[in-house]
């Protein structure tokens, strides 16, 4: 789900498990997409540190 909402930030490994693609801080222009990914993650697995 996160890789659909924010494909620039989230990908998936060979098992289909989510991975974070970019190291460090998320660029400001992607914040909205990441918040959307967070709000839609069915496992509530995304934590945003600000």
């Amino acid at each position: 789900m996160c890789s659909i909402a924010a494909p620039e930030v989230f990908g998936s490994d060979e098992l289909g498990h989510a991975t974070v693609l970019i190291p460090g801080d998320v660029p400001a222009e992607l914040h909205r997409k990441v918040r959307r990914a967070q709000a839609n993650c069915p496992e509530d697995a995304i934590i945003i540190e600000e």
Partner: protein, 405 residues
């Protein structure tokens, strides 16, 4: 307590006597779910169909899904098999990993996940698009079609047959076997057993064939050859094939059918999708939320109290993902389909360790099926809303759904 006759009769209070196969509940379960959810017993109980609990609030369904040590997956079908039914050589064959509990669950799931990863299922997109176009070619000149049997029903079975490397020409037989297990068989133990034996006998022959003639890039061959990594048995491979057929067909077919049924009645949503194609990802999630097809069962491992309910070892719990996904505590205006819904942590694919392994494939099929339909048939409506027929119980969705265009 396994037949329709034994379990028929009017339901006075759904919190103590719900009947998941009541014709009205099968057609439109949401009012009953709301009644239970807002009552003093949001986790209802009924003695019908061998007895079960029915949690209807999002938080309870998710909590039970996460507590997999107490709420086990040793049986996942919503009605029990009759005691003493003889299954012959296939008695131990289940449907791993959905029917597995830890610790085996881990490797049962690990082995099949790679074929369902987003990058793996992407290769089925063009084939699915071609298939959808071919199906529409057959009826587009008629000006009407059955969106259920002519279209939705035909798509997932062919995608799954392709994945499993089994003959696509047998699609009608596969469909009939799966309905025998998940629809008709739930209220008719004889049909359920016969259908199950047909599926397992068919796949046993496929296994024998792959052992004699191994294939390249073939799921069954690859699973059979995974013994160096995990303790793979024929019974496991047979179970996986069983699961992929049974779980991969009726479910996605129902999601496609429900979505078309919805779009047939909502010209504003057809228009919205045409004008804003960037809405597709959220629209797909919203349709999955509002029309979640699947209810799974759990079996209570040991006596436990959950939210004040005294659950006994062996009790069955119906994990109504459709009810959870319409809980106003979790979703604003849950009965409205809002194609650009911002917050949608739906559990159409379940939650926790048994979350649907095929969700990426299901999403792809649903999106492509709806996109191709709307490209070819932008305007359509139900011919007779009252004549739409529905399946329910384990999987909820329309079966006959005639539309004109």
């Amino acid at each position: 307590m396994t037949t329709l006759e034994e379990n028929a009769g009017p339901v006075n209070d759904p919190t103590t006597d719900y009947n998941i196969f009541d014709p009205e509940f099968v057609r439109d379960p949401y009012p009953t779910m709301h009644e239970i959810r807002e009552s003093k017993c949001p986790i209802a109980h009924s003695d019908r169909w061998g007895g079960s609990w029915l949690p209807t609030r999002y938080g309870d369904v998710v909590a039970i899904a996460q507590e997999h040590e107490i709420f086990t997956s040793r049986e996942i079908i919503v009605t029990p098999r009759p005691a003493g039914q003889v299954e012959g050589p296939y008695a131990g064959v289940a449907a791993p990993p959905i029917s597995s509990d830890p610790p085996d669950h881990h490797w049962h799931r690990r082995l099949i996940l790679p074929v369902f990863a987003p990058q793996s299922v992407a290769k089925y997109e063009q084939g699915t698009r071609d298939l959808c176009n071919q199906l529409i070619d057959k009826f587009i000149d008629r000006g009407e079609a059955d969106a259920g049997t002519d279209y939705a029903q035909q798509i997932p079975v062919r995608v799954i047959a392709t994945m499993l490397g089994v003959p696509i020409e047998m699609s009608d037989e596969f469909t009939s076997w799966v309905r025998g297990v998940l629809e008709l068989g739930l209220t008719d133990p004889k049909v359920r057993l016969e259908s199950r034996l047909k599926i397992l006998t068919f796949f046993q022959k496929q296994l024998e064939d792959r052992k004699q003639n191994p294939r390249e890039n073939d799921l069954i061959t690859d699973l059979l050859n995974s013994g160096d990594k995990y303790p793979v048995t024929d019974q496991y491979v047979l179970g996986v094939c069983n699961l992929m057929l049974v779980a991969g067909i009726d479910t996605t077919w129902s999601a496609i059918g429900s979505s078309l049924w919805h779009l047939a009645q909502h010209p504003e949503h057809r228009q919205q999708l045409r004008a804003h194609p960037d809405l597709w990802p959220t629209a797909i999630e919203e349709l999955l939320r509002a029309y979640s097809p699947v209810t799974m069962a759990r079996i209570v491992d040991r006596d436990t109290e959950f939210q004040g309910c005294p659950m006994k070892a062996g009790d069955r719990i119906l994990m109504s993902f459709p009810a959870a996904n319409r809980d106003p505590r979790q979703f604003e205006n849950p009965d409205d389909v809002i194609l650009d819904r911002e917050h949608n942590r739906h559990v159409a694919f379940g939650s926790g360790i048994h979350r649907c392994a095929g969700s990426n494939l299901a999403r792809l099929e649903l999106r492509v099926a709806l996109q191709v339909w709307l490209e070819r048939i932008p305007e359509f409506s139900l011919i007779d809303p009252a004549s739409v027929t529905w399946a329910g119980g384990q999987v909820h969705g329309p079966r006959i759904c005639r539309v004109r265009f």
